[in-house]
């Protein structure tokens, strides 16, 4: 099946402009800041006077006015005005759960792409080594680092600390963290992943989800309760395995479907939570929308409309 489409029509620039005469800089004084919970701004809009306020991230000063340099929401802490950008790289915080991809193996450390401004660092000393949780790091471990993680591998980790230059340091010192397999990755804007109580969720269709705060989402086959970490059936040897388990067709179809739901929701800028995903999944099952039809515009729009109405 091959189908051609046209590019979406650009709004005619001549008409779409805001009325030129009614446009004056939005002067926000104290009341405005207090009243407006979240105000959206765009690059070049002057926010307030630079004499009364300090400029923060996402702003600059021109003609004694604080001007936004990015599109986003205005935030203010006392006299400091910042703009939080809508589309941005991931801003890490200590304790965040992230999904990353190894880009480089270096002496006693891995470099990890975590959708941040700089590559994150995973030290050999902050991973769980196979064969005993409390085992000491040996010299032989340094020589076989690629047996644990090699270039391209995906992993789930937690932000542990920051280095002096702002690089984040990750750790995987929990059996829940580590190498990822049995599934596929979906990338969405990081702002759409909210901070949740738990970023590991399970959908009843036999799917595990890891919502990385950096916008990388891992959709994989569900691991049975009895085989989860700390249980009887937990396979400690498989922690650094590159082999997938057997995945049956229905699970594969469900994984594709969930991945496409996430893509559709992200393209409509719907923040992602497990509840919304579950509702969306149920909707697709009710309406018999398979993974492929979700990519079409009508089905996607209908899905988002339903989810938005219920939320």
């Amino acid at each position: 099946m091959i189908s051609f489409a046209s590019f979406p029509v650009q709004p005619d620039r001549g008409d779409a402009r805001h009325s030129p005469d009614g446009e004056e800089p939005m002067d926000l004084d104290d009341d405005d800041f207090e009243a407006g919970g979240s105000k959206i701004t765009w690059p070049g809009e002057s926010i307030t006077s630079s004499q009364a306020y300090m400029r923060g991230h996402g702003t600059y000063v021109e003609n004694e006015e604080v001007v936004a340099s990015v599109a986003g929401t205005i935030e203010r802490v006392n006299k400091l005005v910042t703009v939080r950008a809508i589309r941005t790289k991931y801003n890490p915080e200590v304790g965040d759960l992230v999904v990353g991809r190894i880009t480089e193996v270096q002496p006693r450390r891995w470099k990890v792409d975590a959708n941040s401004r700089q590559d994150a660092v995973l030290m050999l000393s902050s991973v769980n080594l196979p064969g005993g949780v409390q085992r000491r790091k040996l010299e032989s471990d340094e020589l076989q680092m690629r047996n644990f993680f090699e270039e391209g591998d995906l992993l789930v980790a937690e932000v542990q600390a920051f280095f002096g230059d702002g690089t984040m340091s990750l750790h995987t010192r929990s059996l829940r963290y580590g190498k990822l397999r049995n599934g596929q990755l979906v990338t969405i804007p990081p702002i759409l992943v909210r901070r949740l109580k738990s970023h590991f969720t399970t959908l009843p269709c036999g799917i595990d989800l890891i919502l990385g705060l950096n916008g990388y989402i891992w959709v994989s086959k569900h691991v049975k309760e009895s085989e989860q970490e700390g249980e009887e059936g937990f396979d400690a040897e498989a922690v650094y395995s590159n082999r997938n388990d057997f995945i049956d067709d229905s699970t594969r179809i469900a994984i594709s479907r969930v991945a496409n739901i996430i893509r559709v929701l992200a393209s409509h800028f719907v923040p992602l939570t497990a509840d919304i995903l579950l509702e969306a999944y149920e909707w697709t099952v009710e309406n018999d929308a398979d993974a492929r039809s979700l990519l079409s515009e009508e089905v996607g729009d209908a899905l988002v409309a339903t989810v938005a109405a219920r939320a």
């Binding site: 046209s6 270039e151 391209g152 067709d249 179809i253 492929r292 729009d301």
Partner: protein, 342 residues
């Protein structure tokens, strides 16, 4: 290409999905489905023909997808034996890749990639069997040089198919300006009317002399002019012949699929590029064939793949022709509307 890093687990997930029965792809498409292709012609006002193509664009926010821009620009070139100009004109194709499409590639690697793509596109499109008839201006003196420049703005897999489709759309859209030969008239002609010797016959009283556009005197024409005419020129000759490319991603000897995304490309050991041309009322001709990747292919299999590829290429070509005609209509409509508004 395909060098976007992918873990072994992801690769084996994609491969086992493709090899399962029924085959399942990561985004739910069937094996021979294309993603949605967006196409627009006439995007570059200064080019003689141009096209903008995107495979797999997200319909909601317009992001993602393989994005290619192609523009054909005509240039006059002398045929004097010193330069590269040849009688009947020639075609030069260049592909450049935006570094933002391949952020992981170093500059030399990007150059290599561009060169590979340029070579394939140039060798295929500049082949004598596809050469358009109306690229000559004055035999032995001047001809058109058609520069076809393609830019890969973003790569989300299946770049070659996108390149060839964009190139075909740009060439389809290409208009060759009309030219008229200009010649010197001999000073003395027995019994002829008075004529000034050695002067060009431009801007003459039309009743007094012949038009310069006279095919019998073409050999005497020394230069040409561009007559002012209502349209931009005539379409490039043989525009039905421009080929389309299909990439067969060979997962196993039994299973092959079309329109791979980047991850699928990384998981596929062998890709077979087949370029087919479908001149009207004639059998399809295979214009080019390339094998990419480290996999192996037995010569016996090639015949099957070519036969399959021909079917896909036929469908792709039909769909593309339909869209190009639609675009022609749309642009005709737009031009008329703009004229009416004035």
């Amino acid at each position: 290409m395909a060098s976007v890093s992918t873990s072994k687990a992801e690769i084996s997930y994609i491969q086992s999905g493709l090899l399962s029965n029924p085959p399942l792809r990561a985004d739910g498409r069937a094996l021979h489905d294309f993603r949605t292709i967006s196409l627009e012609t006439g995007v570059a006002p200064l080019a003689n023909g141009s096209a903008h193509l995107n495979i797999g664009q997200n319909p909601h926010d317009g992001g993602g997808g393989t994005e290619v821009l192609a523009a054909a620009k005509l240039e006059v070139e002398s045929v004097d034996g010193q330069g590269e100009g040849v009688d009947g004109g020639r075609i030069v194709c260049t592909v450049s890749c935006s570094p933002s499409a391949y952020p992981h590639l170093s500059a030399p690697a990007l150059d290599d990639l561009q060169h590979d793509m340029s070579t394939l596109l140039h060798q295929t499109l500049a082949h004598p069997s596809l050469h358009p008839a109306n690229l000559g201006i004055l035999a032995g003196k001047k001809s058109w040089l058609l520069n076809l420049d393609c830019v890969v703005l973003a790569d989300a897999g299946n770049t070659y198919d996108a390149l060839f489709m964009a190139a075909r759309a740009a060439l389809w859209d290409c208009k060759v300006p009309r030219t008229r030969g200009v010649e010197y008239k001999a000073a003395v002609a027995p019994g002829a009317k008075v004529s000034e010797s050695g002067e060009m016959d431009v801007d003459r009283d039309p009743g007094e002399q012949q038009s310069g556009f006279d095919t019998r005197s073409i050999s005497r024409a020394v230069d040409f002019e561009l007559p002012d005419y209502w349209d931009e020129g005539e379409v490039l000759g043989g525009r039905d012949k421009w080929p389309v490319c299909v990439t067969l991603n060979v997962a196993s000897s039994k299973v092959h699929y079309l329109d791979a995304i980047l991850q699928e490309e990384a998981a596929t050991p062998l890709r077979l590029l087949l370029v087919f041309s479908f001149p009207t009322a004639a059998s399809p001709s295979l214009q080019a064939m390339r094998i990419l990747g480290s996999g192996e292919l037995e010569s016996g299999q090639i015949r099957e793949f070519v036969a399959d590829g021909e079917k896909y290429a036929q469908r792709l070509s039909d769909a593309l022709n339909g869209k190009l005609k639609e675009e022609d209509l749309r642009r005709g409509q737009k031009a008329r509307d703009r004229f009416a508004r004035r």
